[in-house]
Structure formats: C-alpha cells, structure tokens
C-alpha cells in the first residue's frame, strides 16, 4: 500500500556497528545535555517569593474605576450586563442627589452593582461594552472561599479604593 505521507519511517533490522553497540557515546551525549541545563536560565519560579508579572491582556477580577476627582465612572447604563454572556452582572440604578456630585460623575449611578464571580467567565465583554470607561478587568485574582455568597461581589469589593488606585492604562482602548 502506498503511504499517504512520506513521514513514516521504515524499520530496518540492520545489525548495529561496533560503536553503536558500545552505547557509551549515546550515554555521554545525554549526560552532556543534562549538564548543559545546569548553566541555562531556569524555566520555573520560586512561586510565593517570586511572582511572575501578568500579561497586559490578562483578565482577572473586575474594578469599577473612579475618575481623577474620585467620582464613580459607572452610570448603570446596563450595557455590561446585556453584553455579559454568562449573565453574571446585575445592577440597580439611582438618581444622584444634590451634593453628591463628587461621589458620582453622572446624573445616574449604580446604587447596587453585583458580579457573580462564579458565573463570570472573565471574557472581558463587559469592559468592551462599557461606554464610560468604568469597568476594567485587572490582574488581581478572585479569592477562593467555601461560601457561595462570598463570590457575589458588590460595590464594596469592586469600586476602586482612592488610596490604592489600580492602573488600567494598558487596558484602555486607543482611539
């Protein structure tokens, strides 16, 4: 039968030569490869002490950004929730009252904003849908827990802390 490809090798029961029968050259060759790895850069990291930097496209826990003055960017427009393929995002909007201009950037804001991290598939579509540059996916990891309720992240966990701001410039869309 004609072979379909030329990759298959035909086995030959040819008798080995004297040098091949010795096996020593092959063993030394193998040892040399092993030895050479001692002087090469290590492929692994000592994890807890040394941590690898995430790629800029890594998609981890979400953050709800504030602007320079500390007002929340999110206006509860619902585009993230409608874009979400896992239906993980829910929100309730409220109207900004007088005197709250420093807290919320627009007339409307999200009074409740919840992401169910167990439903979330970290696809980043919410970030893409957001017209207000409010939601971003960061390089933080969602913490483990024994309780399901702990994975429903509300505004307390999502909104950015002004004293500990998260840099998202690498993830901002360039126009």
């Amino acid at each position: 039968m004609k072979a379909l490809t030329n990759r298959s090798k035909v086995a030959v029961n040819k008798e080995l030569s004297f040098m091949e029968r010795l096996y020593f050259p092959a063993i030394i060759k193998g040892m040399a490869i092993t030895l050479s790895h001692l002087f090469k850069k290590k492929a692994t990291l000592k994890y807890p002490e040394v941590q690898k930097e995430f790629a800029p496209v890594y998609r981890g826990k979400h953050v709800l950004k504030r602007d320079e003055k500390g007002a929340e960017n999110c206006t509860a427009c619902g585009l993230c929730a409608v874009a979400c393929p896992a239906e993980a995002i829910t929100m309730t909007a409220a109207e900004r009252k007088k005197g709250e201009e420093g807290k919320y950037r627009e007339e409307k804001y999200a009074a409740v904003y919840e992401i169910n991290m167990l439903r979330c598939i970290f696809c980043g579509l919410c970030e893409e849908a957001c017209p207000k540059e409010a939601i971003f996916l960061t390089d933080e990891i969602v913490k483990t827990s024994y309780d399901r309720q702990d994975f429903v992240y509300g505004k307390d966990k999502l909104v950015e802390d002004m004293n500990n701001r998260i840099d998202i410039t690498k993830r901002q869309k360039k126009y």
Binding site: G78, A93, K108, P131
Partner: protein
Amino acid sequence: MAKVTIDGHTVEVPDGTTILQAARAIGGEVAPPTMCYHSKLKTSGGYCRTCIVKVSKGSDKDPRPMPKLVASCRTTVMDGMEVQNLTSPEVVDARKGVVEFLLMNHPLDCPICDQAGECHLQDLGYQNGGEKTRFDFERRTFERKDIGDKIQLHMNRCILCYRCVKTADQITDGRCHGVMNRGDVSEISTYIEKAIDNDFSGNMIDVCPVGALTDKTFRFKSRVWFTKPMDAHRDCKKCSGKVTLWEKGDEVLRVTGRKDQWGENEEWICNDCRFEHKKTSDWTIEGPRNIDRHSVISQNHYMKLATPHFKKLDK
C-alpha cells in the same frame, strides 16, 4: 388607484397616499426611516427630513424626475411614479447628512437616557450615521424645566419633531404646551410653566422619538432591555385600556401604549392607566409582547421552551 414603484417593488395604492405610506405597504427596508412623522397624528411630518427619497420618474403622464430629493411623508404618489430609497446613493448620502444635523446638538448621554434601547434616533444613528461628529462647538444646552410630576422633560435631547405638540393639540382638549422661541433656541415648553394635567398628556411620552419626554415614574428604574414587555388590558372608562406592561419580576415598572412595527402608537391610553395602575393585579395579562428580534429589548428574552426536545429523550 396609483401604481408606484419603490426600489424596484411595485405596489398599488389609493390616490392621495403618501410615498411613505406606499413604502410601508411594501414593508421592510424599503420603508424610509421617520422621526417626526406619526401615522396617528394629523399634519405630522415634514420637519426632520429623515424620510427623504429620490423620485426618478414623476408619473406616467409626466415622466420627468423631481429636481430635488423629497420628503416622502409629505409627497403624494402619482400613477407610474418611480421612487428610489436605498438604491440611490444620493439618498443614502443625504440621509447621513440629515442624521449628522440631528445629532449636532443631541447630547451623547444614551447611558443615562431612559429611552436608550427604544430610541428612534439611536436606531437612525446606527443605521445611517457617521462614526464621529464633525461639530467643533459646544452643544446647545437648556436649563432644566419641571413640567409636572409625571413627565420629565430633557430639552437638550429634543430634536423638535413637533410630535408631542401635535399630540397635545389633537388628542387632548386645550393644549397647554408648545414650542417657544425660534431657530436655534426654540424649545418645547408649557405655557407659563403650567403643569400638564390633561388626561391624555402621557401619550406625549410615547410619541417622543427621543428621550426628551420620558416617564418620571419610570425614571432610572431599569433599562428597557431588562424589563419584560407584556400585552395587557383593563376596563377603562376613558380609553381602550390596551397597553404594554414593562415588568421586572412581578413588578410593573412602566405602562405604555402598544406600538406597531414602526414604533408608533396603535391606540392612545389615558394617564390613569399609564401612571396609576402599576400592579400586575390591575391588569389582565394577554401574553408577552412580540419584540423584533433585532431590538436590544428582545435580548435574553426566551419565547420558546426546549421542552419538545426533552420529551423526545424520554421516549
């Protein structure tokens, strides 16, 4: 009867029909978009120029084309007329210009606006508009005016289609709101800040193609695509009582009139139905309202269940 050909589709319509009505009789893409025209309001149309079409052949008797693009909502058909809508690049280009004009002063606050998702201007912008604005100046803004506790007026969003004025004029007796001032500064207002308290004034919310007039009782409650539209009716002494309920869970968030496929009210409903009956028990539910599947409102609304498939597996 007049025979008219629009974009290659021929239709026979009674004399006196407008090109727009003839195009709607054909249906689909052939019908030009409209902003100010409303089929239930007399003398509406002719302001926004969105529905412009090219008449490439005037009629059988006089086959000369019309010199300029015409507003299809105000031009009546002639026998043998040939009209181009989407097949004419001139019309497509001109409509893009019209959209640019309409969006010149329109704020980009769709994320806040309650009309988003059912806004005609949004649809129009997506279908015919450009990606960017070329307008370098500050957008025109108005001071916020309170026109009552049921209706919210956002003058900044208004495109001056006059639909609400026509509604107030024709549906309610004794109109108390209209357009004030002229030109760039013209605005919708009640006369001397008088609150609108007519029984049918709420229909202005339904006819508004943008978010200039919105339901104050629904303000910021929910985005329309998170609500579930249901057809419902009740015995009402004042109106037909046929409405669409916009529900979230068991809660009725908003009551509106039923709108046809062109986004225009089928029937007018009274303020009593619209604002005062916000319990499911007030209504007889007929079933879910059929929403065009291209609309964002139909997003995540599942009409059919996959039960037949499961039944097959059981056997």
